[in-house]
Structures are given as C-alpha cells and as structure tokens.
Symmetry: C2
Subunit: 294 residues, 2 copies
C-alpha cells in the first residue's frame, strides 16, 4: 500500500459475538463497522483492513458464506479495502462457530485530532442517536425474548458521519464510539483523561421506548449497554448547534442530541442529572453486563 507522508492510525479488535446472526447485522458486518468506527473516532479515514478468522470444524459453509459476504458488502459501503487475511480452523468444540479479529489502518485527516484528554469545561456533549439498540437486540436474540417493535442492532459504519462533522470546521475536542461499557464507560474515560466533570442530562438521552422497556424489564442500565453505530462527541458549546445540524442531516445522525456538558468541578467524574432533578455519580462499568456482545 502506497502512502503519502503523514500520520496513520492503527487499530485492532476481536469479535466473538453470540449469536453470529442477529437482527440488524451479523459478526461480519460488526467486524467491519467496529474497525471503521475505531478509526473514525480518532479522526482517521479508514483505508485498509485485515481479517483473521478462527473457524470451528463443522461450521456450515453456508453460514461462512453469509459472514464473508457481509464483510465484503460493508467494506465496500465503508470504502475500506480488505487487503490481507488469514484463516485457522480448530476442532469442533474449540471455538464457537466463528471468531474474527480485524486490524485497520487509516489516515488521520482531522487537522487537530480529537483526544480523550482534550475535553474542556464548557464543552457540549452529544450523541448521534438512540442508545442501547445493539446490546438489547443481542440480549433479545440470545434469550429468545421478543419485543414489539422488534429490537434491531444499530451496527453502522460512522466515518462518513465523522467526516461530515469535521467538514463543518468546528473544533471536535473528543470523540469515542460507544461499544462495550456504553455511554457510561466512554464519559467516565473521557472525564478521567481530561480531568473534568461530565454531566449527562437523563431527560435528554435518546432511547427508543422498546429499548427502554427492555432495559427496565431485564434490569439493564441503558447507559452501560453497548452500541455499534453510536459515538459521543465533545465540542465547544458555541459550535454545538452547527455540529448538531450537521449530524441531523446525515443518515447516521438523524436522532442526534445534545445530552450534557462538561464542567470543571471534581475532576475525573461523570454525573447524571436525573429527570427528577437529582444527581448521581456514573460509575465506570466493571466487567460486562452482557458477555460476548461484540
């Protein structure tokens, strides 16, 4: 791969989601979107990716075809080139159908790349849409529970959205995709890294009624549930409406919302302002509410 002088970003992620196929996607789509999104939130245009597969003896070739087809489809949609791969086969019972591990290389195009430590007091905090869809869709698919309307993963590649945001010229201080640990994990990380307090407004969080219902029923906190097509973004309050408008004009940001702000107090904490007017500290999720979510 020929490159110009500049800064590259390099990322890797493993995918062991169970089940392999779920409403809104499959492990192949998840692997491409996860890789693209890891790069996107670094302000990097995804260019190349690798795909390592561990396959279980006895895996249906038809299932493998669907997974690989999905990788191809989503790589084309996300305009990332899959240029190297590897396959290992292990004995029956020694993995669980398919495990994928990708790596991604991208070109950092943000003039002033977002960084976890760059969140500043006064920043607005926003997300690009409904929270918790992926995690609760996996939960429903795994448990056999059905909800009406059906829960679907939000799995989507976000580079095009991020580029749209960067093209506004507004300063993006920090950005993070909301996978394992959900929005809670991301804001706790960013608060700690930047030495600020991040306030989230419970009443402003976009959550589908069906997802809220499923969370209430099953005892999940939507703040910690994994997403696969969502990011949180910190930018100066003065730029917030411009960034919000850019997001809302994009297919992956139609339900974007300003959900909080950054304050200077008690550095390193995240706080939820509840709809009842109270405040509670948001804990860094430890362990996983739901294993093998991605």
């Amino acid at each position: 791969m020929d490159v110009e002088a500049g800064r590259l970003a390099f990322t890797t992620d493993g995918y062991v989601v169970s089940p392999l196929f779920f409403p809104g996607g499959d492990i192949g789509k998840l692997a491409v979107c996860g890789t693209v999104n890891d790069l996107a939130v670094m302000g990097a245009e995804p260019l190349w990716m690798s795909l390592g597969m561990v396959l279980e003896e006895g895996l249906l070739v038809s299932d493998l075809r669907v997974v690989i087809g999905s990788v191809g489809t989503w790589a084309r949609k996300a305009k990332v080139r899959l240029i190297t791969g590897d396959t290992k086969v292990v004995e029956r019972g020694k993995c669980d159908g398919v495990y994928l591990t990708t790596a991604g290389v991208g070109r950092v195009v943000a003039a002033d790349p977002p960084g976890a430590a760059r969140a500043r007091p006064g920043d607005a905090v926003m997300v690009n849409g409904f929270l918790g869809d992926h995690g609760m869709a996996i939960m429903a698919a795994r448990s056999g529970l059905s909800f009406a309307p059906a829960l679907e993963s939000d799995c989507a590649p976000l580079w095009d959205l991020v580029r749209t945001i960067l093209d506004t010229g507004c300063a993006v201080h920090a950005m993070r995709d909301l996978t394992r640990g959900g929005l809670a994990g991301a804001v706790c990380d960013l608060a700690r890294a930047s030495g600020t307090t991040v306030y989230l407004e419970e009443g402003s969080l976009p959550v589908r009624p069906a997802v809220r219902g499923a969370c209430d029923l099953l005892g999940f906190d939507v703040l910690t549930v994994a997403n696969e097509g969502k990011l949180v973004l910190f930018c100066p309050a003065a730029d917030a409406e411009t960034v919000l408008a850019a997001m809302k004009g994009h297919e992956h940001g139609a339900e974007a919302a300003i959900v909080g702000e950054v304050g200077p107090e008690e550095p390193g904490m995240a706080v939820l302002r509840t709809i009842l007017g109270g405040e509670r500290v948001i804990d860094q999720p430890v362990g996983e509410d739901l294993p093998r979510i991605c």
Copy 2:
C-alpha cells in the same frame, strides 16, 4: 504513527497452536515471529504490530503473564512496536486457552521487492537452515513422545537476516517463510506463480538427524512440515555464493544451504531429485499434516 511517503506492507495471522507452551517457544513468541517474518519475506522492515487476544474463562493468570511477557520480549528483540491491542473473554470451553491474532505494518525497503512471480530459470534456491524443527517439536510435545536430543522449535524473527541479505546488493527474486505446508508448499506456490519448474536436491536439504528420525518414525514428509524461523529464497545463480555467505554469517542462517535450482521446463511444477537419482513431483500439500501447528 507518523510515516514518510513510500510503500507499506500490511499482514495478519492467527495463532491457535496447541499446546500453548512448547520446547523453543510459546504462542506469544510465535505470534511476534510469524508477523515479523511475513513482513520480512516481502522485503519490509517490521515497524508496528497489533495483538488481538481471545482468552478462555478459567485461563491461569500465570499462563497469560508468560504469554504476554513473551510477546513483549520478542517484540523488543525484533524491534517491532506493539501499539494496539484487544482482549475478548469467552466462556470456559469456547476456546482453548488463548488464541492470538496479530497484524503487522512494515516499510518496504527492498529497492526491487521479492515477488512470487519473479522466480527465473537459472535461479538458485536456498534455505537458511534445518527444516522441520517446529512441526516435529509440536508433534512431540503434543503426543508425549520424547526424542534424544530433544526436538525444539526453530521459532525466530528473520528481519535482521533478511536485511543482511538485502544489504549484499544481490537480487532477491522471491522469498517465502516456510510455515504451514513447509518447503513443499512454498516451492509449489512459487513455481506456479512464476511459471517455472523448481528442482530441489534431496541430498542437499538440511535436516537434523533427530527430526529426520521423528519424521520417518511418525510418517511425516519433512518437506511439508511447518517451520517458524525458516525461509526459502530465490536469487540468480551468480549471486548464490555471496548470499549464502551472508546467511552463514548470521545467527539465523548458520546452517543455510543451496537446495535446488529453477528450470524452465513444465511450468508450474516442483520436482524433488532424490538421493537415489530419481525424480518425483512435489505435490502442493492439501489440508494439514498436523492441525493447529501455529
């Protein structure tokens, strides 16, 4: 990671070796060496690598420490920087201790990079040392058989050797590491890609007596047994002695040997000239003599 304009190489490989620890190495050393060697045979200096781990619930932390320590030790020795990683945990029984998947990025420094299609009639074929050590060491470790002297994996990072060879200024037409499929797999690939016939001289193949004995006893063909610190190299016959001397002067090439030549006939084949004066076609290995060798 900041880069100058130029050509990069990108590779990925998965490691599911069983057992995780074996004479001469472990899955961590294997992962670093495999990544480095994939890049080296493309004429690329290894710069950065990623490490994705799938861990089984119940894995001993002490075992994980050894594996990660080994990754660190060998990455430092090979001068490759491990800059991104990921960990997934699956339930007990859903993997087999540790699976690793790496990706590597390197800078192509060979002025005229080796390529599978570039083998030419008249080229000398050489290897950098004893064949079959890794595969037979794994076989022995797995089966509980012991040989005297003990069989040890040849697992080693080869970039420094390759750079020494490139520094001679001799033309390297093709290079391939001898992992799954062994020397047989590599020469079959290179013969087909270049439309030439590759002849190997059985009497010139460097094989340790203990490995030869283990192969005879257990019914393995040493030509198809995997290596993890060996490569095959094609260069013009006129350069062969210079390249051989360079290899022999390096710790990973002390037992290097010229093992064959490239002829123009019957394009796309590899042929073994036996010690009895006969010839037999070398078949492309199908499947694996030994699953989970790397």
